[in-house]
Structure formats: structure tokens, C-alpha cells
Amino acid sequence: MRWLRILLAPSLLALLLAGPSFAVAPTLSQAEEARAVAIGSQLRCLVCQNESVEQSSATLAANIRHIIRQQVAAGWTNRQIMHWMTARYGDFIRLDPPFNRLTLLLWVMPVLAPAVGLGIALGASRRRPGPPPPLSDAEKRRLASLLE
């Protein structure tokens, strides 16, 4: 199941901060539970600031976790579940912002910033004359004779 492996990386990243789920829900297999946790870690708890529904102890977050598990047990794909949630709450509920024209600058920044930095650094170094090249053998001999 390729989607499981694709989800593994971000879901494990999310596990850095993931908390428990007080799920009172349909019993799921381990893989299904992992998928539910991964999806929940991408959704914002709407009533507490800046936590995912997996981490939050709010009732509303518990409700959303419950629904996610129901949908996972019913075989919904991740895309379907995300679409269902954003149809109701908008992109606001996604902790990972979508990639569209509006968020272009946001997603491009990790590449843009170092590129700009390197550009400035290279431009500055080109402005300055470089360090003198090392001496050739003839020059070294001349230096030695001068120093005697």
C-alpha cells in the first residue's frame, strides 16, 4: 500500500508532536489507527490555538477524531476525508497550507531564501579581488634569495 509509505514520513514527523487520542470509536487495525492519527495531525483543532486535533483535549477535537476514525473504517481515502473537512471549514482547518497561487511565496521560500543569500554572497565576493594565488617555484626561489 503505497499511500501508507508515503504517509509514513510526514506522519512520523507529526508524531514528534502528536499526542494521544481519547478515541471512543470503531476499533481499528494498527495500520488504520496510524492512518487516522496521521490525518488528525494535519487538522487544526478549531477551538484551541495551534494544536492538531490529535493533540487537543477539547470536545470538538474529540468529535473530529471520532469522525475521522469512522471514515477510515469505512474505507475513505485521505483525499476524501480532507476534502470533506475543508468543505466545511475551509483551508483554515489544514495545518499544512495548500499549494496554490496564494501560498506560492510561502512554499517557495525555503528555496528562494538560500538562493538569494548565495546570490548576494557570490556577488559580494566577485566584487572583491580574490586572495593572491600561491607563489610559483620561481617566485619562491626569488623570495628565498631576497630574504638572505
Binding site: I64, H66, A87, R88
Partner: protein, 187 residues
């Protein structure tokens, strides 16, 4: 050397430019916050203009519950109100709902994350404005409708399309300015 010098001056002015632009943006945000047009904590609800979502709420005595199908072909526009007995603004809202009921607006209530005894006490204390009533203990209907707290209210037109949403308690001002005109429009 001159070519690079020309490039250098704008580059040095960029931090200042960014700070000024940012500052103007922040002033605008603060102004809007003052007027109430900007609140980073409000949760959007995108259901207005869409059909009532698939849901069903079970019986919550004295209510018998209802579901999507019941909201499809209505004689009059219906106000769907999410509330809970433990919610203080819901108690404050209750007299207004009784008044709307007296004026002939059908109100269907969904009791969110609550228990039957507590609901009974709430209705006994503040009266029962609900034509139909259902219970949503696990919040499944609440999330299906996209609410983020209680009380929240929705106006459904006769063909089952959500026409209006309020994420806050009802107030006389909102009722007369927003709700009643829409009830007449879709009535």
C-alpha cells in the same frame, strides 16, 4: 564596479522597504481588528449556499430526532439551532428563541454533547422553543454542519439549502437586521 554599485543601493534599501510595507500592513490589520472586521480566532464556515449535509440526530426526549431527509421539502424556512444545556450563552439566547417561535418561525434544535437529564432541566427552566429536537452526543452532526462551538444557528430554505449561518448567540439586533428579512425572502 559601477554596475555592482548601482545594484547595491537598492539592495541596502530593501530591509527598510520591507519594514515599511510590513508596518503599513500591521496598521491596517489593527484598524480592522478595532472595527471587528479582523479576528484571527474566528473559524470559517463554508456551508452557506450548499445543501444540508448528510446527517441524522437521534431522539432526545421530548424530541424524536430528525435527519437530512426531513429538511428537504419544508412548508416554511426552518432555523436549525445547535445548543447545549451546559452552554451559558445558550441560556441567554433561549428567550429570543421562544419569541421567534411565537412569531411562527419553526426552530429545530440539536443538543450537542449533552445528556438527557440535563436537557430536560434546560427545557424546563427556559421553555422549549423547538418544533423538532434531536441529540448529538458524539458531535457527529455538529462536525457535519461545520460548527466550532455552541450556540450556532442556520437558516434552511424550503428546498433544503442553507441560506444563513451565525457562529455566535442570536441577539435582537441580528434577528431583526438579518434573520427576519431572510425568513420573509425565502418564506
Amino acid at each position: 564596479m559601477e554596475r555592482v554599485g548601482i545594484l547595491r543601493r537598492p539592495l541596502l534599501l530593501m530591509p527598510l522597504g520591507a519594514a515599511v510595507v510590513g508596518g503599513i500592513g500591521f496598521v491596517e490589520l489593527l484598524m480592522r481588528a478595532e472595527e471587528g472586521r479582523y479576528n484571527p480566532h474566528t473559524v470559517p464556515n463554508l456551508m452557506v449556499g450548499h445543501a444540508v449535509p448528510p446527517f441524522s440526530v437521534g431522539a432526545a426526549p421530548p424530541g424524536t430526532g430528525f435527519s437530512t431527509a426531513d429538511l428537504q421539502h419544508l412548508a416554511k424556512p426552518v432555523l436549525v439551532n445547535f445548543f447545549a444545556s451546559w452552554c451559558v450563552p445558550c441560556h441567554a439566547e433561549a428567550p429570543l428563541l421562544m419569541q421567534l417561535k411565537a412569531e411562527g418561525v419553526p426552530i429545530w434544535g440539536i443538543d450537542y454533547a449533552d445528556t438527557e437529564p440535563a436537557l430536560g432541566r434546560f427545557l424546563a427552566a427556559d421553555g422549549n422553543p423547538f418544533a423538532r429536537l434531536g441529540g448529538d452526543p458524539k458531535g457527529e452532526a455538529a462536525i457535519a454542519w461545520g460548527i466550532s462551538g455552541v450556540p450556532e444557528s442556520f437558516l434552511i430554505d424550503r428546498s433544503g439549502i442553507i441560506r444563513w449561518h451565525l457562529g455566535d448567540p442570536l441577539s435582537p439586533a441580528i434577528v431583526s437586521a438579518q434573520l427576519i428579512p431572510l425568513v420573509r425572502k425565502y418564506g
